[in-house]
Symmetry: C2
Subunit: 319 residues, 2 copies
């Protein structure tokens, strides 16, 4: 049996843990709902239990080399600590990596989930063989991960790449982060639903007009069917996403921007406006250069990125 | 005689060339107006002539080890080529480094002037001993330079750090770059003048009210004197500068942001609003962490940064 690592994706709804080999093949995976208490100890125990199941099923008697844990939170990787987690606020300030290490008996490296997705895509997905890329994850919120010269850029405290909280409308919609007009308020699944409600009155003939707070999926389906309300919602989302991307292109001049997450399924409705806005707002040279592409790994981007983090870190972390 | 390098700062108004020793002392410098024709050959000859003067005065018979040339342009350092130069458009596409190398007989490394200022400040100025910093130069325009883990981040084509062209007002004032609502349109010296004109009607008692298109210096002086129009202009500039900085703090989580350039003289009128806006719009952790400081090297930041570039590059470039 060759060596393997564990990788986890801890979200507000589900927890997934997988055993992954050094080539990025998922050997086994297990999933559980995030504990209803949403508190520290049950979360740690659930992760540890899923980890033990993976070791039992895939380990063939061997322990994993390390355990990469991607969390939907502002984290400090080097300390293994959660700074703040809007979805699981009981984790704020918690040394999650150490607690899971103790409970699962494997050294844990903590990573932000959107940075993990960027690492996963750069390892095995859309941005493989690309030195400098930015991955923007459109889901319930908007996350980001930045890879510069092949390495994740985490910033001085590990909080970098919060692309969802770039201000794109200075006096815009208030955001859970405390600011106003963040990209997340215009390009997340939540924002798609809100904008559909806001604009509904102007589109009485829309198939969505009877549907108070339609899901982003319903808005997407309506858009594919040519519904004008849905198309206007995606145009707005695309305008703001393109505005943020133009800034990233001017500031970082990356080779590729990868659009990931659930709402990436809506990419075909976003792409035109995003590209047009980026071309209008960024310098011609870096805008023509950057490749703007959808992600390739789907739901597995984060867990594969966490596995790659574990593989990279394993030598000094092996117990 | 110890070794030395040449460094130049090529702007739309002046050209400066200096001989600089490895400790960053300017041994001699010479200056000339940018040629009125604003064309390639006279610019190259003027730089070469100033370089020869520096060599004659400071070289004591020795040739410089290399020549760093900072230009107010989008450049590709590795090719030594100007992509585009709004102030000196005849340089667009020109292999300036090679042409100056040939004319001056010294190997030339081309650098963007705002990146050079960031390098200079990180070498000898406000951000010395700081690994990751962003330098924002407020002048006629707004430029930027990014230092990550001690190295300038230039992007895949060398066009990165165009902080003046982050969009801060999505449907805002049109910008020379082709976009709308760029930071440069709200925080440059030019913008200070324009905003004073725009707001003048509402402040009939302002000391500036009879002064059509006052200089940014005049607006600053009025602001120091408590003039309400001038203070409102600086509040607006500070709001937009703070908005852009909040985005940089959320995306890059740097240790320090340095405000440089002529308008940095107005820093005391900007600082309060910039800091307040940044704290409101960025995540608490990276916002509390980042140091927001004025530059220390004044007009010499760019030329000292160019000298540092020459010192770093000299081994492979020595003729």
């Amino acid at each position: 049996m060759a060596e393997y690592v564990l990788a986890a994706d801890l979200g507000g709804t589900n927890i997934r843990v997988a055993a992954v080999d050094p080539a990025g093949s998922i050997l086994y995976q297990s999933r559980s709902a995030t504990p209803e208490t949403r508190t520290r100890e049950p979360i740690v125990q659930t992760i540890a239990e899923l980890a033990r199941k993976c070791i039992a099923e895939a380990g063939n008697g061997r322990q994993p080399a390390a355990f990469g844990l991607a969390a939907a939170a502002l984290v400090n990787s080097s300390e293994g600590r959660v700074f703040s987690s809007p979805n699981l606020p009981d984790l704020d300030g918690f040394p999650l990596a150490g607690a899971v290490s103790d409970a699962a008996g494997v050294s844990v490296i903590l990573e932000n989930d959107a940075t993990a997705a960027a690492i996963g895509e750069a390892w095995l997905g859309a941005s493989r063989n690309v030195g400098s890329s930015i991955c923007i994850t459109l889901g319930t919120g908007v996350g980001g991960g930045i890879i510069l010269d092949g390495r994740p850029w985490r910033g001085i405290d590990g909080t970098a790449a919060e692309i969802g909280h770039i201000c794109v409308e200075p006096r815009g919609v208030s955001c859970g982060c405390g600011s106003f007009g963040c990209l997340e308020q215009y390009a997340s699944a939540t924002a798609i639903t809100r904008m559909a409600d806001e604009l509904a009155e102007g589109f009485p003939l829309s198939v969505l007009s009877g549907d108070r707070s339609p899901s982003s999926r319903a808005v997407f389906d309506a858009g594919i069917g040519g519904d004008e309300l849905a198309l206007e919602v995606f145009r707005r989302a695309g305008f703001y996403l393109g505005t943020a991307i133009a800034g990233l292109v001017n500031v970082l001049n990356p080779e590729m921007i990868v659009i990931a997450g659930g709402a990436a399924a809506g990419w075909e409705l976003l792409a035109g406006t995003v590209r047009q806005t980026m071309m209008e707002k960024a310098f011609q040279r870096p805008a023509e250069r950057v490749k703007l592409v959808p992600a390739e790994l789907g739901d597995n981007a984060g867990i594969l990125g966490a596995a790659q983090v574990a593989l990279q870190h394993k030598p000094p972390f092996i117990k």
